[in-house]
């Protein structure tokens, strides 16, 4: 069964937009604010499926 093609340009925040504010706990339990953590530097935000399986 072939997968339907996806237009990733329209999935999630768009190119040219400011990435939304994100505040989430990290692996040590510390609350991380994405943009504050970048401290004015470029960043890669990686979404992955699972660290468990």
């Amino acid at each position: 069964m072939p997968l339907p093609p996806r237009d990733f340009a329209t999935i999630g925040p768009r190119q040219g937009q400011r990435f939304p504010d994100v505040r989430l706990p990290d692996q040590t339990g510390r609350l991380v604010d994405l943009h504050a953590h970048r401290a004015g530097l470029p960043a890669l935000v990686v979404f992955y499926r699972s660290a468990e399986w």
Binding site: F8, P13, Q15, F19, V22, L24, R38, L41, L44, F47
Partner: protein
């Protein structure tokens, strides 16, 4: 969080791994794959009640202002860049290579390296080939009547898919005097390699051939080639096992 803590320890990760328990942030960002069960079926993965609230795997590249400059998503969830390759390509930070293969040819010196010393199942590793062209010389970067264009060939290895070669911008492309599609100075090419064979493929040595024809202001030199051997090891699986189901296409 305990899962992330263990994962970070197993892989030596020091950057923040954020926990989006319940997937609320990913849902708000519009990144949840609502058709994950159907997608899994297409890949031959058995239904699993835990497979809910999964995002499309992918990478956002943010500039200094936090603006998205690039989105890197792959159609297949199994394909992914190496960490070093991602940083090199997305942030233009050239990581100092580990092992560098080096060889010389007529008027051209070649170096080649991989962005990762190891590969894992379905990982995409980028091979970089750097040509240093002797002063006053050039190589043809595209097909022309007068000369053979520079090209990269990788000796076939079972299970290794070789993607298209990408060259850094040719110099002199708009020039009216010089050869219109010639490279001079230092030129780099990248070749994506996807290791699609089942685990257990073992270590490899990539055989790389650079074919080119060099010229200068005098008579054109004959076609040349340079051979490079680039080693890569298979990475051991860390802290996990692979799914047993396989795609049947």
């Amino acid at each position: 969080m305990a899962i992330l803590s263990e994962f970070a320890a197993n892989h030596g990760i020091t950057y923040p791994l954020l926990s989006d328990e319940g997937s609320q942030v990913m849902r708000a960002l519009g990144l949840i794959n609502a058709r994950v069960q159907e997608d899994h079926a297409a890949y031959g993965i058995a239904p699993n009640p835990r497979h809910v609230g999964l995002p499309y795997p992918g990478v956002f590249v943010l500039d200094r202002d936090g603006v998205v400059t690039e989105k890197r998503f792959h159609e297949s969830y199994r394909e992914r860049d190496t960490g070093a390759g991602l940083i090199a390509q997305a942030l233009a930070v050239v990581t100092p290579p580990g092992t560098v293969a080096q060889a010389d040819g007529m008027a051209v010196s070649a170096r080649a390296w991989l962005d990762s010393p190891t590969y894992a199942f379905f990982q995409r590793v980028t091979l970089t080939i750097e040509l240093s062209i002797a002063a006053g010389h050039y190589v043809y970067g595209d097909q022309r009547e007068e000369g053979r264009p520079v090209s990269i060939e990788i000796d076939p290895i079972a299970g290794v898919e070789v993607g298209p070669t990408r060259w850094s911008k040719p110099r002199g492309a708009s020039g009216t005097d010089g050869p219109p599609w010639a490279h001079d100075g230092i030129v780099r090419a990248t070749v994506p390699l996807t290791f699609a064979a089942a685990p257990g493929g073992g270590d490899h040595v990539l055989g790389v051939t650079v074919r080119y024809q060099a010229g200068d202001d005098g008579p054109r030199l004959g076609p040349g080639s340079i051979r490079l051997a680039v080693p890569i090891k298979e990475a051991p699986l860390v802290g996990r096992s692979l799914p047993t189901a396989t795609a049947t296409g």
